[in-house]
C-alpha cells in the first residue's frame, strides 16, 4: 500500500484550495454537529479540499472526553475503592493458598486399582474417635489413638456446614463400599492418620469420604449411566439431592505415625448414601462435578485434599493461617465492596471439567448481558453525564459545553442509552455510549427534556413544558403523545 499512499499524498497536495471559506458560525455548528445534513455535506466538501479550515476545525475541537478532574473527584467520593483493592489482593492470596492446599493436578493422577472400603461412624460411637485411612485408594476406619490437633487450628466445633464437592477425580474406587450410620447430631471426632506429624489439620470434612459417598450415590442411582445429555441431566438431579451435606466436626485429631500419606481429613458426616454400589466409570465421575450448586450457602467449609507429603503439610498449615485471616478479616469488606454478587452456580461454573456447548453459550449470553448491566449511568447535579464501566471510575460520557446540562439518562437492557437535557437536547447511543447521535424533538429547543421512558422500540420523552413525545423509530421522528403515530 505504500506506493499508493505516496502517490495519494502527492496528488492530494496538488489539488487546488478553495478561496471562500465557511464562517466561524458554520464551522462551530459543524463541530457541534448542529448543521442540517445538506449544509453539513457542503462543509465536509469544503474541508476535504481546504487545509486551512481543517486546521481550524481540528484546533477548535472540544477537549478530550476523559476528564481527569472528574475521575479524581469520583475516586475520592468512593471511599471503598482502596478497600476494594486490598480485598482483591487478599482474594488473590486466598486463591493461591487454596491452590497450594488443593493441588488439583496431583489429585487427578491418583488412580486406584484396589476396591475401597469407606466406613464412618458417627452417633453410634460418640466418644470413640475414628481414623479414616486411605492407602492406595482404600479407605477404612480404625480406632483412634492419636493426639488432638491444636485448638488454634481446630475446625469449628460441631459446625454444621454445607459442603461442596469440587473435585471428584481422585481416589476412584472400583466397587467401593461405604458403610455409614446416619445420625444427626454426631459427636465423634474426626481423626486423621498421616505419615508425618501434621500441625494443622484444617477443615473438618473428610473429602475422600464425601467423594466416595457421591460416587456411591451416583452408582447406586444409575448403574446404566451413559455418556450424553440425558446422563448429564440425571447426574445433575442426583447431585442436587446429594449436594446438601450436613457436616458436623469436632477438632480433628492427628495421628503422628499413621501409615498413609493419603489420609482423609477427619470429620463426621451425616448424609444419605447408598452402599454396595456398583463400580463407576472414571469419566462419569470426572464429569459428575459439573454444576454442583449449593442451594443456600450459609457457610462453606473448603474441603481439604489428602496431603501427599511433608512439604504439602507445611505449606498447607501456612496457607491455612493466611486463609483464615483473610477469610475473617476481608470477607466483610468484600461483601460490601463487591458489585451484585453472582450466583453460586455461576461461581462454581468455573470449575466445570466438561461444560456442554449449550451451557457455554448460555453463559456467554449471560456474561454479555451482565457487562451491559454493569455499565452505570448518572447525571450529576451540575448536569454532567457520567458513565462507569467498572463500578468505580466515573468519566464523562459525552462532550458537553458549559451551557449544556443533562437532566435525565435512561438505559435499556440492550445497551441503548438515551439522555436528555436543557435546550431540548436529546442524545441516543445504541452501543452503551460508544457512539452518540443527537436527536431533535420538535418544539423543544426552548425547553428541557426532563424524563425518558423506554418500552421496547417505543421511546417517550417528556419536556419541561409538560409535553410528551413518542418515537417508534429510534428517535428519527417524534409525535406528540395525544396524536396517533404515522
Amino acid at each position: 500500500m505504500q506506493e499508493i499512499s505516496n502517490s495519494l499524498r502527492q496528488r492530494l497536495r496538488a489539488r487546488p484550495e478553495p478561496e471562500i471559506h465557511p464562517d466561524p458560525d458554520q464551522l462551530t455548528a459543524y463541530v457541534e454537529q448542529l448543521l442540517p445534513s445538506a449544509e453539513r455535506a457542503t462543509v465536509v466538501e469544503h474541508l476535504a479540499e481546504c487545509s486551512y479550515c481543517r486546521q481550524v476545525v481540528a484546533l477548535s475541537l472540544p477537549e478530550s472526553q476523559q476528564q481527569p478532574v472528574v475521575a479524581h473527584e469520583s475516586a475520592r467520593s468512593r471511599w471503598w475503592i482502596p478497600a476494594y483493592r486490598w480485598a482483591a489482593a487478599a482474594a488473590t492470596v486466598a486463591i493461591a493458598a487454596t491452590l497450594v492446599i488443593e493441588r488439583p493436578w496431583q489429585q487427578r493422577q491418583f488412580q486406584v486399582s484396589q476396591p475401597a472400603t469407606v466406613s464412618e461412624k458417627s452417633q453410634a460411637a460418640p466418644p470413640v474417635d475414628t481414623v479414616t485411612t486411605v492407602t492406595n485408594g482404600t479407605v477404612a476406619n480404625a480406632p483412634a489413638t492419636t493426639d488432638r490437633a491444636e485448638p488454634k487450628f481446630a475446625a469449628p466445633s460441631r459446625a454444621t456446614t454445607l459442603m461442596r464437592d469440587d473435585s471428584v477425580s481422585s481416589g476412584v474406587t472400583s466397587g467401593a463400599r461405604i458403610n455409614r450410620e446416619v445420625s444427626p447430631p454426631p459427636t465423634a471426632l474426626g481423626v486423621i492418620s498421616r505419615a508425618a506429624p501434621m500441625p494443622a489439620p484444617p477443615p473438618p470434612v473428610p473429602q475422600n469420604a464425601l467423594r466416595a459417598e457421591h460416587r456411591a450415590e451416583a452408582s447406586a442411582a444409575g448403574a446404566a449411566y451413559k455418556d450424553g445429555e440425558q446422563d448429564f441431566v440425571n447426574r445433575r438431579a442426583l447431585r442436587a439431592e446429594s449436594q446438601t451435606v450436613e457436616v458436623t466436626a469436632e477438632p480433628p485429631v492427628v495421628v503422628p505415625e499413621a501409615p498413609s500419606p493419603k489420609a482423609g481429613v477427619g470429620g463426621q458426616v451425616t448424609a444419605q448414601g447408598g452402599k454396595g454400589a456398583p463400580p463407576i466409570k472414571q469419566e462419569s465421575l470426572a464429569t459428575s462435578t459439573m454444576d454442583f450448586a449449593v442451594a443456600q450457602p450459609q457457610t462453606t467449609t473448603p474441603a481439604t485434599p489428602p496431603p501427599s507429603n511433608e512439604n504439602t503439610l507445611k505449606s498447607m498449615s501456612l496457607a491455612k493461617k493466611v486463609k483464615n485471616k483473610v477469610s475473617e478479616g476481608v470477607a466483610a469488606v468484600m461483601e460490601k465492596a463487591r458489585p451484585p454478587k453472582p450466583s453460586v452456580a455461576q461461581g462454581f461454573s468455573s470449575s466445570m471439567t466438561a461444560p456442554s456447548a449449550k451451557r457455554a453459550e448460555t453463559d456467554k449470553e449471560e456474561n454479555g448481558r451482565e457487562q451491559v448491566e454493569r455499565i452505570q449511568w448518572t447525571v450529576t447535579p451540575d448536569g454532567r453525564l457520567l458513565k462507569s464501566t467498572d463500578v468505580g471510575q466515573w468519566h464523562e460520557a459525552y462532550p458537553q459545553g458549559a451551557d449544556l446540562q443533562f437532566r435525565f439518562v435512561q438505559q435499556s437492557g440492550t445497551g441503548e442509552v438515551w439522555a436528555g437535557g436543557n435546550h431540548g437536547t436529546l442524545i441516543h447511543s445504541w452501543n452503551a455510549g460508544v457512539n452518540w447521535s443527537k436527536l431533535n424533538v420538535p418544539d423543544s429547543s426552548s425547553t428541557d427534556i426532563t424524563a425518558i421512558a423506554i418500552d421496547g422500540d417505543n421511546v417517550q420523552v417528556k419536556t419541561s413544558n409538560g409535553k410528551t413525545f413518542v418515537s417508534d423509530d429510534h428517535g428519527k421522528t417524534w409525535v406528540p403523545l395525544n396524536q396517533t403515530p404515522q
Binding site: 505516496n6 492530494l12 496538488a14 466561524p24 454537529q33 466538501e45 476545525v57 451551557d403
Partner: protein
C-alpha cells in the same frame, strides 16, 4: 393584505416567543431590534426563504447567547458583565489549549478581547467582532473557532517571515539540490490518481487529506467527522485498497498492462524517496510524522 404579510402577521407570536426565550430585554434589546438580528441571520443562511423556513432556522439558533452577544455589541453593561463572567476564563483556557503555552495563549486571548470589545472603528462606529456571531453554534464554540482561526493566521504569517538565521538553524544551506523531479515520470499515474480521488465522496477525501496531508491521528479525524477512531481506521484501510484498485484500473485503461501499471506505481515511489530524504532534513519530529503516513 398580501399572503406574505399575512404569514408575517401569523409569525409574530412565534417571534415574540423567540424574543422571550432569548431574554434579550435583559441585555437592553427590544423585540424589533432582535427581529432585525434574526433577519440578518436569515439573510445570511437562508436568503429568500419563506417565513416558515426562517422560523425553523431561528428556532435552532442559540437565542440567549445571540442576544448576549448583541447586547455586548451595543455596549450594555449587564451583557458585558455576563459575558466576562461566563467566558473570560474560558477564553484564556481555550487560547492556552490551542497554543500549548501560557504566555502566547494569554497574548492571543488578550488580542481577541480587544477585537471582541471593538477597539477598531469603522465609519466612526466601534465595531465589535461579536457582531459576527450568528448563533448557529454555541458562543463558547464560536470563540474557540475564532481563537483557532487567529492562531492559524498568526502561524502562517510568521511562517512566511522566517529570518535568515532561523533558516540556517534549520539547515537549509545543507539541503541537497533536487536532481529528480518530484512529479512522477509517467503523467498517467497522476491522472489515474486524480480520477480515483474525484470519484470518492467528500468524507473519504477528508479522511485521506487529514491523514496524509495534515498528519492527523485517527482519533482527531474521528472527532472531526463525529465517528469513532476505529471506524476511521476501517474506512481508511478500505479506501486504500479501493484506490489502489481504481488507480491500477485507470492505468490499464490508459494503455498499460497489469505489470506496467504496478511498476508505474513503484517508479513513483522511487521519486518520492527523494522527497522523504529532503523531509528528513527538516525537523525530526516532522519527518517522523511524514513517515507515519507511508507505513
Amino acid at each position: 393584505m398580501s399572503v406574505g404579510s399575512k404569514a408575517a402577521e401569523a409569525a409574530k407570536p412565534a417571534i415574540r416567543g423567540l424574543f422571550e426565550k432569548s431574554r434579550g430585554e435583559r441585555y437592553g434589546l427590544s423585540e424589533s431590534t432582535f427581529l432585525v438580528v434574526l433577519e440578518e441571520v436569515a439573510n445570511k443562511y437562508a436568503p429568500g426563504a419563506t417565513i416558515q423556513k426562517k422560523l425553523t432556522l431561528w428556532q435552532e439558533l442559540r437565542l440567549e447567547e445571540l442576544a448576549l452577544s448583541r447586547g455586548c455589541v451595543a455596549g450594555h453593561e449587564l451583557a458585558w458583565q455576563e459575558f466576562l463572567t461566563r467566558y473570560r476564563e474560558k477564553l484564556y483556557d481555550i487560547a492556552r489549549g490551542i497554543t500549548k503555552e501560557d504566555s502566547s495563549g494569554r497574548d492571543l486571548a488578550d488580542s481577541l478581547y480587544a477585537d471582541l470589545y471593538g477597539l477598531s472603528e469603522r465609519e466612526g462606529r466601534r465595531v465589535s467582532r461579536l457582531s459576527f456571531y450568528m448563533g448557529r453554534g454555541s458562543l463558547e464554540g464560536w470563540l474557540r473557532t475564532v481563537v483557532a482561526q487567529e492562531f492559524v493566521n498568526r502561524y502562517r504569517k510568521q511562517k512566511r517571515l522566517v529570518s535568515l538565521e532561523e533558516e540556517s538553524e534549520e539547515g537549509v544551506q545543507f539541503a541537497s539540490t533536487e536532481t529528480f523531479s518530484a512529479t512522477p515520470c509517467d503523467g498517467r499515474v497522476g491522472q489515474a490518481t486524480d480520477e480515483a480521488l474525484d470519484q470518492l465522496p467528500a468524507e473519504d477525501r477528508l479522511i485521506l487529506a487529514g491523514y496524509y496531508l495534515d498528519n492527523r491521528t485517527l482519533t482527531e479525524i474521528g472527532k472531526m467527522l463525529g465517528v469513532h477512531e476505529s471506524t476511521v481506521s476501517r474506512r481508511l484501510e478500505k479506501l486504500l485498497k479501493l484506490l489502489r484498485k481504481q488507480v491500477l484500473a485507470g492505468l490499464q485503461a490508459r494503455g498499460m498492462n497489469r505489470g506496467q501499471a504496478e511498476e508505474a506505481l513503484e517508479v513513483d515511489v522511487r521519486f518520492l524517496a527523494v522527497d522523504v530524504r529532503r523531509r528528513l532534513q527538516e525537523t525530526r519530529s516532522t519527518a517522523f510524522q511524514q513517515d507515519k503516513g507511508s507505513d
